[in-house]
């Protein structure tokens, strides 16, 4: 960390090597394809590189980098929502929608339905539900990662669940 702060690029590469799998793991839940996943992760580490001096050592580096990852993913979701029109779950699935970056070996039809429904949620709802249910983060952790209050996270999680249930129901 000291060396990376002093501007040693190799030390920063070492730091990246140590933390990239956590960043990729979270970003893969939001990225549409491998190219977008690469973009998100590169932007996360570039921001970390230029803002390394702002990192206070009162919490682990992983928390700091995951906070940047959460914000980047949120930015990508917002950008995507602004640029594209919203399609229904059926249309998304029929158009060969790729639920998220690198798919596991055999796609499960119910999982595809879940991912397509997740893609329909608002960026805030999606961030909360993915972190809470898929990444198994606590409400307090999500509040720390997003910068929202715990009450806000709870309300958004509840709304996201209701919206998700409705979307899944419509699909049946």
């Amino acid at each position: 960390m000291e060396a990376a702060l002093a501007g040693d690029d190799d030390a920063f590469a070492e730091l990246t090597l140590r933390h990239k799998s956590r960043v990729f793991g979270v970003a893969a839940r939001f990225a549409r394809d491998a190219a977008e996943l690469e973009d998100i992760c590169q932007e996360v580490f570039i921001q970390a590189y230029f803002k390394l001096r702002q990192y206070r050592r009162d919490s682990p580096f992983e928390h700091w980098i995951l906070r940047i990852t959460t914000h980047k993913c949120y930015d990508y979701l917002r950008k995507r929502r602004r640029s594209g029109t919203l399609l229904s779950v059926d249309v998304l699935l029929e158009s060969g929608y790729e639920p998220s970056a690198p798919e596991p070996s055999s796609p499960h039809p119910d999982l595809e339905r879940l991912h397509a429904a997740l893609a329909q949620l608002s960026p805030k709802e999606r961030i909360v539900i993915v972190l809470l249910e898929l990444e198994e983060r606590s409400v307090q952790e999500i509040a720390g990662l997003t910068g929202w209050s715990m009450a806000n996270v709870k309300v958004r999680a509840f709304r996201a669940r209701v919206a998700l249930r409705k979307l899944m129901e419509n699909k049946k």
Partner: protein, 100 residues
């Protein structure tokens, strides 16, 4: 009852999604190398811009000096013209000024 059933189904789906973590190993391969290459490219671009902007400082300074000289010349010419008009016809100018 229906809501509880749907909640249960949703929880089962979440559990399934948790169990099937996306495999990012291919995307992670040699990521540091690509990242450092991009960082270096970005730093080079930034340094080129910084160099160009430093080199443009004398040009902009010269522009500021030229504009200041041009402006002061216009102000002097306008004052001279007003004084000449007053000398030639002071009554008109005084009645015009008395309006304000």
């Amino acid at each position: 009852m229906n809501d509880q059933n749907q909640d249960g189904q949703l929880d089962a789906l979440f559990a399934l999604a948790r169990a099937r973590r996306p495999d990012t190993s291919a995307a992670e391969f040699a990521f540091e190398t690509r990242l450092l290459a991009r960082l270096r490219a970005q730093q080079e671009t930034d340094s080129v811009w910084a160099m160009v902007s430093w080199r443009l400082i004398p040009f902009f300074a010269a522009c500021v000096v030229a504009l200041t000289l041009w402006h002061s010349q216009i102000v002097t010419e306008t004052n001279d013209a007003e004084q000449m008009a007053y000398v030639e016809n002071p009554v008109i100018l005084d009645s015009w000024n008395s309006l304000y």
